[in-house]
Symmetry: C2
Subunit: 388 residues, 2 copies
């Protein structure tokens, strides 16, 4: 992995979660970076989300450090704001930077008071541990029910972009889902970064669903510190934006593949809808249907459930014009059963990656891509016993 220049990382176990596994992560840019972020649209917002938003506004879109903890969402807590403030201030003192240049994020259980001291006391050691090679360690520390580390990186024309993300359950589209931190060593104007991030999120995190639940802590931050000496301008902007979006897409796909209890990544492609919004609506309804997701888990080419989920989405289309493919095998032609070799399709449905196409003939030019996962007993196991 070619990491962007000018960033250092650190992680340690601060005793926030019960399991002895790093639960505190730090990302520091050597120089103040321009930054943009998107946050959860849940009415219930965690204290760190509020503070991160405020800090970003107060600093005019500048971030020096990101302080992330797992094991406690610091949400719906009496002391939430105080804890977020105390911990970011402690880090700012240690780094000798303005408190508004620290960007906080938390993930974990809701409604349990978080002890600020555990973080405050760990800050000196955390800062001492900063190292450009600790990227993976930081990515590991932000995981909760994730089974695998999720990172992505790319390099274009001397500019590097790298990202880490976490997320497994409580993943819902149409918002900046889960925690994600993307770093680049290009120099990018904050306003420009905001626009590019929004578009990148629209085709990545907003096209992702694990269980249809939306978290109170979701945050996606992108930082640009200019350490490569390259600047994003009119000339290379499209190229940079595409690279940024691809890193976000890779991270989002990894979340779907590691959905709680998931054994299969499902990529849904809808085409021929009236417009892109209608296509996304259909794709989202299919992705959120427990009946579709359990059929995928069971390796059952039950296209009737796919058609029915689309029909219930509220989107307008002609059911009699719908063709559906599973693993490139046409299972539904014009809304009716197609002829296909069921046995070989059932075999193909054992793959870890499932491709689903939903085409409406003569419907229009609207299309959407969407990622989800199958729904298995593992999901129930993880979520029936997460807290107690």
């Amino acid at each position: 992995m070619k990491l962007p220049l000018g960033y250092r990382y650190s992680a340690l176990y601060a005793g926030i979660r019960k399991v002895t596994k790093a639960d505190l992560a730090l990302i520091v840019s050597d120089a103040p970076a321009t930054a943009a972020a998107v946050f959860t649209t849940n009415l219930v917002q965690a204290a760190p989300v509020r503070l991160a938003r405020n800090n970003l506004e107060a600093s005019g879109g500048v971030v020096r450090a990101v302080l992330i903890n797992a094991g406690n969402a610091n949400c719906a807590t009496r002391t939430g704001d105080k804890v977020a403030l105390a911990t970011t201030k402690a880090l700012a003192r240690e780094l000798k930077c303005p408190a508004s240049h620290v960007f906080p994020a938390s993930t974990g259980v809701i409604g349990v008071e978080m002890e600020a001291n555990k973080v405050v006391e760990a800050v000196p050691e955390l800062v001492q541990g900063l190292d450009a090679g600790q990227f993976d360690a930081a990515a590991d520390a932000i995981m909760t029910t994730d089974l695998v580390r999720k990172t992505a990186s790319t390099e274009v024309e001397g500019i590097r972009i790298a990202g880490m993300t976490k997320g497994s359950g409580m993943i819902h589209p149409n918002m900046a889902t889960t925690l994600a931190f993307v770093m680049t060593d290009a120099a990018v104007a904050a306003a420009s970064l905001r626009v590019m991030l929004k578009r990148a999120v629209e085709r990545s995190y907003n096209r992702l669903s694990v269980d249809g639940d939306m978290s109170t802590n979701d945050t996606l931050l992108v930082m640009a510190n200019g350490a490569s000496g390259k600047r994003v301008t009119q000339a290379n902007r499209a190229m940079f934006e595409e690279a940024l979006a691809e890193v976000c897409e890779s991270l989002a796909r990894q979340i779907a593949a590691d959905g709680e209890g998931a054994r299969k990544l499902v990529e849904i492609e809808v085409a021929g809808a009236r417009d892109n919004e209608t296509a996304a609506r259909i794709a989202r309804a299919i992705a959120n249907s427990p009946l579709v997701k359990t059929a995928i888990a069971g390796g059952d080419p039950n296209w009737g459930r796919i058609l029915s989920a689309a029909g219930a989405s509220g989107a307008m289309f002609d059911p009699g014009a719908v063709d559906i493919w599973l693993q490139c095998v046409k299972v539904c032609r014009k809304g009716l059963a197609a002829q296909y070799d069921e046995e070989s399709l059932i075999k193909a449905l054992r793959n870890r990656e499932i491709g689903m196409k939903f085409h409406i003939a003569g419907g229009g030019l609207g299309q959407a891509r969407f990622w989800t996962c199958d729904l298995t007993k593992g999901y129930i196991e993880i979520n029936g016993s997460y807290r107690t």
Copy 2:
């Protein structure tokens, strides 16, 4: 059970489903009954839904017989309309009534052609078997993944109302969900029956969710044949409407309790919302949250998930004014953790019936009641292997 006068029932195995278990049911009113029905709002509608709607219109709201099959939804099938027409016509010939007086309904797998002959050939025996005492047999024959028979009845001022319903998965609120047939021996004008049915559905079937999926075949029919000699008039209308709604509520609750894989019935009460619509929106979001439903399955008083699901619903309310009760124990006070005895609450959460209250202090007068069930591994098992 005190059944309404003037109805006879019959059921037999016609070979539509693989398991040798009655799959064809018949309900006949001795005299033509006035009738009203609500249907699925899914864009994809099964052939029997289309025909039932047409027949009801053609007959001016008169039904003599209801012909129901389980094991095949007769939806997204090449021969769907022909099959629905041929089977209802065969029954009409046998009963010597207009074909438009026969009301068809189907439930089962989507996208598999249904053989009309199996039904047509069974019709004579089905009619011969008609008997006032075969109510339960008919209720059993319409079941698919249901584990228990679902019936309800009541008697007020000499008027009897009885209903049977089926439904376990693919249950979503905000529509006429699943199959349900309600018979009364009162005489009710068709227009009046339609109005009362709509209101009854609004507080019963439209307040019910098992998995958020919406079927292509959902139908709720109410018939009034006047056999009791009693007429619903201005004077007793409120009383009759309440009785009708209570039967529908009982049937809806039974569906939630028998949700696929469910071990617990969850009753959600939202109060203090801006208006009833907002309350229903919050209740629906909680009822549809897999994280809430798995927490209930695991007996985990994880109120943070309830608050978060409500916050993601799109409804406007002040999270800091929310109190939440589980089994009458206050677990959240003003959006924060309340003091309570967790051990005894965890014990109380082992009950088969779970009560959940979500109150917004000073928010308004809007309220809603909603039924759902827990989400267990059983749901995955049933739906991962339903067809193959």
